[in-house]
């Protein structure tokens, strides 16, 4: 290596850095001139970058800088966004928790409404619900059940810790009176 090498290395790295796309040997030679052994210079440059956060890589004979793969999480850091579950999702979750393993048609029957497609997905994304095999009945419907993450989130040791219907009623959670019937104006009868 002559003492012009550092200059050539500097030129190479600047050219590769500023390029719009990975550059082949011919492109590089055109930009930095025919200085010595280009492949050898590129190898030197690559090894000088190897421990860094930016690395020099060859892909199909073309060279470019890119970020070191192990640092990807810094480039796309994840930020937590707290979201409130929809009422449909909370209801579906409770049905699964009380009736697992339960199929989707059963959930719909218990809730009295058709499930929107996203509801179960949200619960699975939250990590609270998992598919739990197929039921061996006609149509072999998929069953759903809660996960250990569900128990952990709600601080439950087992599913048996869920309050029963009687408990819910005692807590006032079932006392939703149906609307009173309208009085009939036909008189007579009460006397």
């Amino acid at each position: 290596m002559t003492d012009s090498a550092p200059e050539a290395l500097r030129a190479l790295e600047a050219v590769i850095f500023a390029a719009e796309a990975p550059l082949g040997l011919a492109d590089l030679a055109r930009h930095v001139g025919e200085r010595g052994d280009l492949p050898e210079l590129l190898r030197q440059l690559a090894s000088s970058y190897a421990p860094r956060g930016i690395i020099l890589v060859e892909r199909g004979g073309r060279w470019s800088f890119q970020t070191a793969p192990d640092l990807a999480h810094h480039l796309r850091p994840t930020r937590e966004a707290v979201r409130k579950l929809s009422r449909a999702a909370v209801e579906t979750l409770s049905v699964i928790a009380y009736h697992e393993p339960v199929t989707r048609p059963e959930i719909e029957e218990i809730r009295g409404v058709a499930a929107s497609p996203g509801t179960l997905d949200v619960l699975m994304e939250a990590g609270w619900v998992r598919p739990a095999g197929r039921r061996e009945t006609p149509g072999r419907p998929l069953q759903y059940a809660t996960t250990p993450g569900f128990l952990a989130h709600f601080n439950l040791t087992t599913r048996r810790d869920l309050p029963g219907l009687a408990d819910l009623k005692a807590a006032g959670l079932l006392d939703r009176e149906p609307p009173r019937e309208l009085p009939l104006p036909l008189g007579g009868r009460e006397e």
């Binding site: 390029a19 707290v82 979201r83 709600f154 939703r176 007579g188």
Partner: protein, 276 residues
């Protein structure tokens, strides 16, 4: 005493050709003298206005602007304007306004100072010199800026960086209470549904018509409808059904001419009798 009472900045900023283009941030500036139509504007050489011309003349004195002779400069400017007029060059109005102001400044500087003169001639001269120095400094600075290495010419950034982004990971909120009350809500809904759907003991309309017709056939006197209803019905729901069906049966019998119905006033007892 010349009639030019304008302060220097007013004169310098005045450019008739652009008078219609007022600035968003200020009210229209008042114009000394009549507005010259834009056609009168003449770019004298490459000067950008009278201050630029003054600066060029000042530089021809080949001394530091701080040491410049304002009186000499005034003479140079007035000579220049005279020459231009001799050549029948049309001058933009602001060059002439500047000439008038400089002529005034010159006389004020040469005459014994008047104690009550505002502004003071020395101060005006000083301000002119300051403005020349400042403009010169800004020109110089601009050239120095341009002489610096410039991004996109002397150095470069990456042409196509990947960019950074942030992945949003959702964390769902749901309390145990939310879940229980949701389940309670489902159960309550289901119970309410039973009330609506379950088949209840009812007296069918056909049955009521048949029964009422049979009872009415035995008497032609007016009597309260309630008297024809079965007594001691334990099921309140069934009792209501009997009442409703019997009332509708009454209307049906009246419609078919087999009974008459009468009510003295709203909510008073309904009277009924058969027709032979």
């Amino acid at each position: 005493m010349p009639a030019t009472g304008y302060s220097l900045p007013d004169i310098l900023r005045h450019e008739p050709g652009l008078i219609s283009e007022d600035f968003e941030e200020g009210p229209p500036r008042s114009m000394p003298g009549a507005a010259a139509p834009p056609s009168l504007i003449l770019q004298l050489g490459s000067w950008e206005g009278p201050l630029d011309l003054l600066l060029t003349l000042a530089r021809s004195q080949k001394v530091d602007l701080a040491q410049i002779s304002i009186l000499d400069l005034v003479e140079q400017y007035l000579d220049f304007i005279r020459d231009a007029r001799a050549l029948s060059l049309e001058l933009a109005a602001d060059y002439l306004v500047m000439a008038a102001w400089l002529a005034y400044l010159k006389s004020a500087l040469l005459l014994p100072p008047e104690p009550d003169m505002e502004p003071d001639a020395q101060e005006m001269a000083l301000k002119l010199q300051f403005q020349l120095q400042r403009l010169d400094a800004m020109r110089d600075a601009g050239q120095k800026l341009l002489a610096r290495p410039q991004l996109g010419w002397d150095n470069f950034r990456r042409a196509a960086p990947e960019g950074l982004s942030t992945d949003i990971q959702s964390r769902y909120e749901c309390s145990l209470f939310d879940m229980f009350s949701a389940y309670g809500g489902i159960q309550a809904r289901a119970q309410h549904g039973v009330h609506v759907v379950r088949r209840r003991p009812v007296m069918a309309l056909d049955e009521a018509i048949e029964r009422l017709a049979r009872l009415l056939g035995q008497t032609l006197d007016w009597a309260e409808l309630a008297r024809y209803l079965p007594h001691d019905l334990a099921d309140e729901g069934y009792a209501r059904s009997v009442l409703a069906s019997s009332f509708v049966a009454t209307l049906e019998l009246v419609r078919t001419g087999r009974a008459e119905v009468s009510q003295g006033a709203a909510f008073s007892p309904i009277l009924i009798r058969g027709r032979a």
